[in-house]
């Protein structure tokens, strides 16, 4: 579904990502894990067209998307739930969700998606008129994921959804991803620092280090390998 082919990204001349290739297959959950500064967010932003590539290609369902503008990529069905959520703070929960459906013109599917999000996160329904900026971090993360689901994405990319959340909220966020796997036909690309949880959730995983893929494989196998257990899980 998504194919990243040998991409290089430079920040003011310095390569922060070199010749990186990866794949996401339909209906899979793919995890990208790695330490802070490994280039995880850079990868997602490059896919979104928010960062220009110095080399390489990105294909979505066979179509090249690395020359498209962000809003065109969104219309193809790739939705990015950014790190730090980037909600529109003074606007209400419902307004934020409806902005997630900006590219959807069919009113009926908008309503259906809103109902689905409210069912997924009942707390958002209770607080739909509240300014999203006044909610707790966990509730905001729900709003951000909910907003991402409003356009029935083909590929949902979650950037550090557990960052800065209380442990209870972290497990709720991951529980939601599990539910999406079970119920939806959404493909998920999950970027996480929380290596253990991310590997448990994913079908396939990539371990990223200083802008390059250090290791890849079925998530279960990576989780069991000594190298990963020592380097990331401290076991």
């Amino acid at each position: 579904m998504l194919e990243v082919k040998g991409i290089t990204v430079r920040y003011s001349g310095l390569p922060v990502m070199r010749d990186l290739s990866m794949k996401v297959e339909q209906n899979q959950t793919v995890g990208v894990v790695g330490a802070n500064g490994a280039g995880k967010s850079t990868l997602l932003k490059a896919i979104m067209g928010a960062i220009k590539l110095s080399a390489g290609q990105i294909l979505f369902n066979g179509q090249r998307i690395d020359r498209l503008r962000t809003e065109e990529i969104v219309r193809l069905g790739i939705i990015y739930v950014p790190e730090g959520r980037r909600l529109f703070g003074p606007l209400s929960v419902e307004e934020n969700l409806m902005l997630g459906a900006y590219t959807v013109s069919d009113e009926a599917s908008k309503r259906r998606n809103l109902e689905y999000v409210f069912e997924l996160f009942p707390r958002l329904a209770e607080r739909k008129r509240q300014a999203v900026g006044s909610m707790s971090g966990g509730e905001q993360q729900m709003a951000a994921i909910g907003r991402g689901l409003m356009s029935s994405p083909k590929l949902l990319m979650l950037d550090e959804p557990s960052l800065g959340l209380a442990p209870l909220m972290v497990s709720e966020v991951f529980e939601t991803v599990r539910r999406l796997q079970r119920e939806g036909d959404t493909t998920v690309l999950l970027v996480e620092q929380n290596v253990l949880e991310a590997l448990e959730l994913s079908d396939w995983a990539y371990i990223l280090q200083t802008g390059q893929i250090r290791k890849q494989g079925p998530a279960r196998e990576l989780l069991a390998s000594d190298e990963v257990r020592q380097a990331f899980l401290g076991l």
């Binding site: 979104m48 928010a50 503008r69 962000t70 809003e71 969104v74 219309r75 939705i79 990015y80 950014p82 980037r86 909600l87 529109f88 703070g89 003074p90 606007l91 307004e95 409806m98 902005l99 997630g100 900006y102 590219t103 907003r147 356009s151």
Partner: protein, 308 residues
């Protein structure tokens, strides 16, 4: 003492009416600033273009000046969009100082263009439904019908812009872009399109303001500066990017400008001989800047906050 009472009433009425014009001029500036964080020095020149539009189109089409307002709005919107795509878009890539000089240059360009085509002669609408008519609402208090109509139409324009921003999908997208342009792009909202829309809405509202203003204020190529400066003070007072702030601050500034005649009346009524020569009336715009200065020192985010 009776004279004082009348003077107060008069000042309040004309302050309110003039304030609504100031508010409408500031509205366009605050919308553009809110979405793009860019200060448009040529804003008063947009007003001038709106004024000339009504002045020239009305006799050309043989219709009343009031009926040309939608055209003045349209010309303002087109001018805004042209400036955005022809100039501002490129300025955004440069540093802040490029934006300042860029819109300053645009101001000088438009002003000289007007000088070339229109000459330096001040001109005003001489006939129309609104010109020269007035309503007497009390002894000595005369409401000029031009200013009354301007006030009503100004409020109407505010209502339209408020509705557009707060009640429509595209308005929500505009708000989202002004809060976080990159975040909005991840929703599929084109920043380029929203910027152009902000310039269209800003240009349209100041164009309408110009079309209204020319009914009682003569237009010449240099008319913009005073209104640009007042609009800056209004936007700073109301809070950058706040539509509600522009309305409230515009009215406040209108009242402030009309305060000095009250002072003069007070001086006359208490017959303060020593102060007779001091005609505070001449300092009315100075007071706007004194207040502007105070606001900048005491409450830099303006009355209605910074953007939100």
């Amino acid at each position: 003492m009776e004279e004082l009472g009348i003077q107060i009433l008069k000042s309040l009425v004309s302050g309110l009416l003039m304030g609504l014009v100031f508010a409408l001029v500031a509205l366009g500036l605050t919308v553009i600033f809110g979405v793009m964080d860019i200060v448009n020095f040529a804003h008063g020149e947009f007003l001038m273009v709106g004024m000339y539009t009504t002045l020239l189109i009305s006799p050309l089409l043989g219709v009343d000046p009031v009926l040309t307002l939608p055209l003045a709005g349209l010309v303002g919107a087109v001018l805004g969009v042209l400036c955005y795509f022809g100039l501002i878009r490129f300025l955004l890539r440069g540093p802040m100082i490029a934006q300042l000089f860029g819109t300053f240059g645009l101001m000088i360009f438009l002003r000289n263009l007007a000088l070339l085509f229109m000459g330096s002669e001040p001109r005003i609408v001489h006939q129309g439904w609104l010109v020269g008519k007035s309503i007497v609402i009390g002894p000595g208090v005369v409401l000029e019908s031009t200013k009354l109509a301007v006030a009503v139409l100004s409020l109407l324009s505010f209502a339209v812009v408020w509705w557009l921003i707060n009640r429509t999908k595209v308005g929500k997208a505009l708000t989202a872009t002004s809060l976080d342009a990159e975040g909005a792009r991840y929703m599929g909202i084109s920043t380029e399109l929203m910027n152009a829309l902000a310039w269209a809405v800003g240009g349209a509202s100041v164009g309408v303001a110009g079309g209204l203003l020319v009914n009682f204020w003569p237009v010449d190529p240099g008319v913009g500066l005073l209104f640009t400066m007042i609009a800056f003070a209004t936007v700073a007072l109301g809070g950058f990017g706040s539509v509600r702030g522009a309305l409230v601050a515009g009215i406040l500034i209108g009242l402030i400008v009309n305060l000095p005649p009250v002072w003069d009346a007070i001086l006359r009524s208490i017959d303060a001989v020593g102060l007779r020569g001091l005609d505070i009336h001449s300092f009315k715009y100075t007071m706007v800047y004194a207040i502007y200065f105070l606001i900048m020192v005491l409450r830099p985010q303006g009355l209605f906050g910074w953007k939100q």
